[in-house]
């Protein structure tokens, strides 16, 4: 016992840190899953082994099999975030610039934000068909709310004295928007876009699972229909990794552009 102590204590000390606990949890989960998958102890159809899932994932990463679907989903999510930002930021600035407008509009936006956006999908199908544009529209409307609401939140933080100074030196309202409001609210707007990205991904890909011709969401349901469960898990993992990478890239980019945005990372929890 006395001999084992010097080797086990540093290991225990390493495990007894948040990072150690997280690593241990993930390791136990992976090993447990692999055992269940290999032995077929629990729902053999539902738990393929981790190695099987990773093999599928490797195929997605190294072959062009997913390229058309990634392109379709990227087009939808990219278009959605662009439209949501182009509408959400100016409207957020407009609504947030006058207290009386804000008092009227804000509760309406908050109530509308609660409605699940996917239920508007049948309306978009009627207007835009079952091609990529109806999914793009669902993604755009899902991303619009976090972007506009966080723009409004940013507008609330703008000090009135900045605007007063600009007005006294005769700056036009358009220039006040671009030169005073935009830099002051950049941090919140960036956070809004980042959260909006998550909402757009979920909205567009969920719509793809309902009805589509291509896309990553469409492929999830295809694999589910063919009962290719390992492929389905691999694709889900692939989507989670892509979403996390996009989120990290946006966070880094916005962090470089605006030091303020680094402070407001937690708001994502509530959208």
């Amino acid at each position: 016992m006395a001999a084992a102590r010097p080797t086990s204590t540093p290991l225990m000390a390493r495990i007894q840190t948040p990072l150690g606990v997280r690593a241990l949890t993930l390791s136990v989960l992976i090993v447990g899953w692999e055992l269940i998958g290999r032995t077929g102890l629990l729902f053999p159809d539902l738990f393929p082994s981790i190695t099987e899932i990773l093999q599928s994932l490797w195929i997605y990463v190294t072959t062009p099999v997913m390229i058309p679907h990634i392109k379709a989903s990227l087009y939808e999510v990219g278009g959605a975030i662009a439209i949501a930002a182009l509408l959400g930021i100016p409207l957020g600035i407009l609504w947030g610039s006058k207290q009386s407008w804000l008092e009227i509009v804000e509760p309406l936006i908050l109530y509308a934000a609660v409605v699940p956006k996917i239920v508007i999908f049948p309306v978009f199908i009627l207007f835009l068909g079952i091609d990529v544009h109806s999914k793009l529209a669902v993604g755009a409307i899902a991303a619009f709310f976090p972007i506009s609401l966080l723009t409004i939140a940013g507008m609330r933080e703008v000090k009135k004295v900045y605007v007063d100074v600009a007005r006294t030196i005769g700056v036009t309202p358009a220039k006040i928007a671009t030169h005073v409001y935009l830099p002051a609210i950049a941090g919140q707007v960036f956070t809004g876009i980042r959260i909006g990205l998550g909402a757009a991904v979920t909205g567009a890909l969920l719509a793809e699972t309902k009805i589509a011709k291509a896309g990553l969401g469409f492929m999830i349901v295809e694999y589910y229909g063919q009962f290719r469960i390992a492929d389905m898990y691999a694709l889900l993992l692939f989507i989670f990794i892509l979403a996390a990478l996009a989120n990290w890239a946006m966070k880094s980019l916005f962090g470089m552009l605006s030091p303020i945005s680094r402070k407001s990372g937690d708001a994502g929890m509530y959208f």
Binding site: Y111, V115, V119, T209, K210, Y224
Partner: protein, 248 residues
């Protein structure tokens, strides 16, 4: 006219103004009824479905699913949040994992739940409970963590037992923050339940909307959409009233 009445009048004016524009556009034939139903027609169809169709039963199923999710999320969430607060290392470690899980598009994994629970309400309840569970866990942990230590010191100086301290100081101190988590959870559960019902075509109101869209029954689609929006808004309104009453 009081300030709040004036604001409500403005808001109602905006909503009914927009609906009037849609109604006029459809009735005048500017927009084809193939794409858009007149709001009055949608309301009439919804009313007929409530009286003679099975909209009431479907609403009941949706409400049952929401209630079940809320119960599961609240019971498990409060217990897990308390546990994560009591065991600081586990709490700190898992909070990040929970936040990561919450921000990832977990809802896309719904086919796994359909395989496990079948095409039943159980699949909707199981997945939607996760969306309610995480905000409750995080808010409960935060609530216990942020209790003013002076309150506990006062309790200790009055020689309260651990049980009395928990019952008379901790619980009232954490209740408002836990309620905020409950409010968030209900919002996420509502979105998830209605969304999943529509996408997976199971359960209540969402399934009705999906069926109507599948049959290209335009008026029924808008009636279902109207019903879903009203249900969502009603829920949020009731939660806001409850929170207002609770905080008084």
């Amino acid at each position: 006219m009081s300030e709040s009445t004036r604001l409500t009048a403005w808001r109602l004016g905006l909503i009914f103004g927009a609906l009037l524009i849609v109604e006029t556009s459809v009735r005048a034939g500017w927009i084809s009824t193939f794409f858009l139903a007149a709001p009055t027609r949608a309301v009439i169809v919804l009313w007929q479905q409530l009286l003679h169709g099975n909209a009431l039963v479907l609403t009941g199923i949706t409400l049952f699913e929401i209630t079940a999710c809320l119960l599961i999320a609240t019971i498990l969430g409060v217990l897990a949040g308390f546990f994560l607060w009591r065991y600081k290392l586990i709490g700190t470690s898992y909070e990040t994992l929970l936040a990561a899980l919450f921000s990832s598009p977990v809802i896309l994994a719904y086919p796994i739940f359909l395989v496990t629970f079948g095409r039943t309400s159980a699949a909707v309840i199981a997945l939607s409970s996760i969306f309610g569970l995480i905000p409750i866990i995080i808010n409960t942990k935060g609530a216990f963590q942020n209790v003013n230590p002076i309150l506990l010191q006062v309790g200790a100086s009055m020689n309260l037992t651990r049980r009395q301290l928990f019952r008379h100081i901790l619980i009232p101190a954490v209740a408002p923050a836990i309620f905020s988590g409950f409010r968030l959870a209900l919002t996420y559960i509502l979105k998830s339940v209605l969304g999943l019902e529509y996408v997976a075509q199971v359960g209540g109101v969402g399934m009705w909307l999906s069926d109507a869209a599948f049959k290209f029954e335009v008026e029924e689609v808008y009636a279902g959409l109207f019903g879903t929006i009203v249900l969502s808004i009603l829920f949020l309104y009731l939660i806001n009233r409850c929170e207002h009453w609770f905080r008084r």
